[in-house]
């Protein structure tokens, strides 16, 4: 058994993937973190206090986990969903009635989205109460606040996609609220969002692109910076 393991570790394939030995000394343990793409964000040293679960409650990690769930289920939903007025509602009904586990996918996407908004908010509270926004971490707090806004925007843009009465009026009311902004800015933003003056075909496509591409990509970029900064500042 041990022989096979040794041969495996010494093989060309293994050594090309893991370019350090087994984490047996301080140096190799540090290398294991440096040279791994998934671990490279980690700080080399972490304070014992901050590993304690009740200090962070793992809320940031859970948010990220939910984001992954949303990306996976969302990608699968995109296979069946067409963002066009005659088809959108029917596609949703098809997901519900004939796609294998389609209803499960929709439910998972929906509940994960709800949970993400709640968890991200709790994460923000935790950061506030532990005072983690204080210098030198103030920039990361700002990124976090922007991430919170992207989370809510993702939720809101997804609301239109089922194309039923609830979503139609939800978006109508929302964009009309935007129109209340003074100096004609509101009208401009609302027009830009809807691609017109009413919730119609253009609005559906715009919200689809925002929901599935623009906002998620922005969120991923911001998250990368967010995580990187956390590690550099000695967080988990």
């Amino acid at each position: 058994m041990k022989k096979i393991f040794d041969r495996l570790v010494r093989s060309q394939v293994w050594r090309s993937i893991f370019r350090h030995g087994l984490p047996e000394s301080n140096r190799t343990r540090a290398e294991a973190i440096f040279f791994n793409f998934f671990f490279h964000l980690h700080p080399t040293k972490v304070r014992k206090r901050s590993i304690k679960f009740t200090y962070t409650w793992g809320l940031g990690g859970i948010s990220f986990g939910l984001f992954i769930v949303l990306v996976i289920t969302g990608a699968l939903l995109m296979l069946y969903y067409r963002p066009s007025v005659p088809q959108a509602y029917g596609d949703m009904k098809d997901l519900q009635f004939v796609v294998s586990s389609g209803q499960f996918l929709r439910n998972m996407h929906r509940w994960a989205a709800h949970a993400m908004v709640a968890i991200v908010f709790l994460h923000m509270l935790r950061v506030f109460y532990t005072g983690s926004y204080r210098p030198p971490k103030e920039f990361n707090w700002v990124i976090g606040v922007i991430l919170f806004v992207t989370t809510i925007l993702l939720s809101y843009t997804g609301y239109l996609l089922p194309w039923d009465q609830l979503s139609f009026w939800g978006i109508s009311v929302g964009t009309n609220m935007i129109r209340a902004m003074p100096f004609g800015i509101g009208e401009m933003i609302s027009f830009l969002l809807l691609g017109g003056n009413i919730v119609g075909e253009n609005a559906l496509v715009r919200f689809y692109v925002l929901h599935c591409f623009i906002i998620p990509v922005a969120a991923i970029l911001l998250m990368a910076i967010h995580f990187w900064r956390i590690r550099k500042d000695g967080g988990v």
Partner: protein, 647 residues
């Protein structure tokens, strides 16, 4: 730390379990159970039926852009052997349409994309087209079939007929429905007696049960005010003026009156008023009941009106009888003595409101009397009632059910509204038509078919454009004066109370038509409608007959046939033995009562007509019950030859 690992392990197992539930739910779905049950059931049947491959089935109707998955569970729709099987496997009743071509939800409603019982019936939240109740099914025919009569949908057709009859289009916007002619109210002050008018306004059906005017549920005050208001309309349209009554009617001795009444009674019978007018419920259905008319109108109006109906009601479909003065006086005297309402309640005395004109005008506008009746100087308040063009697509959240407590569906709303229009709010204005359940249901069916669904134009059956046949010249004037279109149809225009005259001259011999105008009689022993004697002059008859001989004729129907003893004998044998024509037709008093008597048929009908008629009766009268016996040419000729010997 170890504790955390345990939590992690447990939650992982839980999530894995949750992930497994979903495919399991798919596998144990409702429809799979039905499909397995179907395959079991058909095994026990003596007939061989193809078992179903397990899987979701669907009908895709491209032209309607519809996907219906009802056939996932309704598996035996096409199997005749499953007529009595239990649902959902029962075969579909035979209808004209193929469901594979049109899908299910276009007629039945419900949620076609669903694959579970509850969802597919559509009686769930957020689905606004639940499955149609069976008694309202024919409404769906009306989505595409916009013609007046849909033969395979009798309830729908009845509803459309009633909508026309009750003049719903007077107040409501209704696509394809025309306003009916209703008497104009100009001159009503010179026509009716005020007590009658008050009673009538309060409850028209109390005067005659068949009255078409609905009950507006007016209070005593309202009825009196409207009556006072209407009694001010003394002058007729076109400045028509009532002539004074002949002196004989006003002051005559008892014996003179008796002779007058005697003459009137005879003339009234000869002119067959009863063909169109019922008298106390007995008689025709085209015109108003005359059983109590002498208590309704004053004599002077009656005299003038019979003398020239169109002078006072320009579009009325009543013929102008050619009575001489004496006969006319007699008819009026007879009606005055006979058709009196002895039980008419005298309304309680009433002091007119000084503002009766203004208040009356407001009421007449409020209840939109103008929707049906023409009234001088009052404009029609267009579409006073709600637009009913798309009532079938009305959403439940748009309806106020009030405190009615009825089941919350569109069909029961419309039904209740028709039965008692003010149930939902006492402020509503719709009058009560006192419809029977069948009538209300039929109208509801017709209305529910008015949907805003996008039906491709090529699938819609549109009503035929109305015929614009308007005869000109002397004949045209006579046709108008005699209101022929009130009973007869010519080239697609007119009512079908009596025969279609389009091919009359090809059918009947000239001498017979000529004679018929003088002494009209019934061709069939059991027929109720009868042609009135209009007392036409010889000149007028000549005009009519000459025109008919030129226009109401088709050259393709003129055939001469050979009449010799052999064919006549053969025809007689065919008539009496092979085809048993005598079971419906009479000759010499022997035979059935259904068809016309054939005693003197040779002097009535053209041989060419008989020949073509025998070969295909329905080609000339689609509703004829004469069977198409598929005669050979020889047989038809022989029967014709035989009939042409019956002078």
């Amino acid at each position: 730390m170890n504790k955390l690992r345990i939590y992690f392990a447990i939650s992982s197992v839980v999530f894995l379990f949750v992930l497994a539930i979903s495919p399991l739910k798919d596998f144990f779905s409702e429809w799979r159970g039905y499909q397995l049950a179907y395959n079991e059931i058909i095994k026990e049947l003596p007939q061989r039926i193809q078992p179903v491959d397990i899987g979701i089935k669907q009908l895709w109707v491209r032209k309607l852009d519809v996907v219906d998955r009802c056939t996932t569970c309704h598996l035996g729709l096409k199997e005749k052997a499953l007529v009595n099987a239990k649902e959902p496997f029962r075969s579909h009743p035979h209808i004209y349409h193929d469901f594979e071509e049109f899908g299910c939800t276009i007629c039945h409603n419900g949620q076609g994309s669903a694959t579970s019982y509850k969802e597919s019936k559509g009686k769930v939240k957020y689905w606004d087209k639940p499955i149609f109740p069976r008694e309202y099914m024919e409404a769906s025919c009306g989505k595409c079939h916009k013609e007046q009569v849909v033969i395979q949908a009798p309830i729908l057709s009845l509803g459309r007929k009633l909508i026309n009859e009750y003049n719903c289009a007077g107040c409501h916007k209704l696509e394809g429905r025309q306003r009916q002619w209703v008497p104009s109210l100009n001159g009503i002050g010179s026509k009716v007696n005020r007590s009658w008018l008050v009673n009538w306004l309060k409850n028209p059906k109390a005067y005659f049960a068949t009255a078409k005017m609905p009950n507006f549920q007016l209070s005593d005050d309202e009825a009196n005010t409207i009556a006072d208001f209407l009694m001010t309309f003394k002058s007729f349209s076109n400045n028509a003026i009532l002539e004074p009554l002949p002196s004989l009617l006003i002051q005559s001795s008892e014996s003179q009156t008796a002779t007058l009444v005697e003459i009137g009674s005879t003339r009234l019978r000869e002119s067959r008023c009863i063909s169109c007018h019922p008298f106390n419920g007995k008689g025709g259905y085209v015109a108003t009941d005359l059983g109590k008319v002498a208590s309704k109108v004053n004599l002077r109006w009656l005299y003038n009106y019979i003398k020239n109906p169109k002078h006072f009601q320009p579009n009325v479909e009543m013929p102008r009888y050619r009575f001489n003065n004496n006969d006319l006086t007699g008819v009026v005297a007879y009606m005055n003595s006979e058709y009196v309402d002895f039980d008419m309640a005298e309304p309680p005395s009433h002091t007119p409101d000084p503002l009766y004109y203004e208040k009356g005008l407001v009421l007449v506008k409020k209840y939109n009397c103008r929707g049906c009746h023409e009234i001088e100087n009052i404009k029609n308040s267009e579409e006073l009632g709600p637009d009913l063009s798309f009532i079938g697509s009305k959403k439940l959240y748009e309806i106020d059910f009030g405190l009615s407590g009825i089941s919350q569906s569109l069909s029961s709303y419309i039904f209740t509204k028709l039965k008692s229009p003010r149930t939902f709010s006492s402020k509503m204005k719709m009058p009560n038509y006192e419809l029977s359940d069948e009538q209300a249901q039929a109208i509801a069916v017709a209305l529910l078919g008015n949907t805003s669904e996008q039906i491709p134009e090529e699938l819609k059956i549109k009503p035929k454009p109305a015929s614009t046949f308007t005869p000109q010249g002397k004949f045209g004037k006579l046709v108008n004066d005699l209101a022929c279109f009130g009973c007869h149809t010519m080239f697609g225009r007119g009512r079908l109370v009596a025969t279609d005259l389009t091919l009359e001259a090809s059918m009947a011999k000239q001498e017979w038509i000529d004679h018929y105008f003088k002494v009209p009689y019934s061709l069939r022993p059991i027929l109720t409608e009868r042609m009135p004697n209009l007392f036409l002059s010889d000149d007028e008859i000549k005009t009519l007959v000459d025109y008919m001989e030129k226009v109401f004729i088709a050259d393709s129907l003129t055939n001469d046939i050979l009449i010799n003893e052999a064919t006549v004998a053969k025809g007689k044998l065919l008539y009496s033995e092979k085809y048993g024509c005598g079971s419906c037709h009479q000759i010499n008093g022997k035979g059935g009562f259904v068809g016309p008597t054939l005693d003197k048929v040779a002097s009535r009908l053209q041989p060419g007509w008989i020949l073509h008629w025998l070969k295909n009766p329905q080609a000339y009268k689609p509703e004829s019950i004469e069977p198409n016996n598929n005669f050979t040419d020889h047989e038809a000729e022989a029967i014709t030859a035989y009939l042409m010997t019956l002078h």
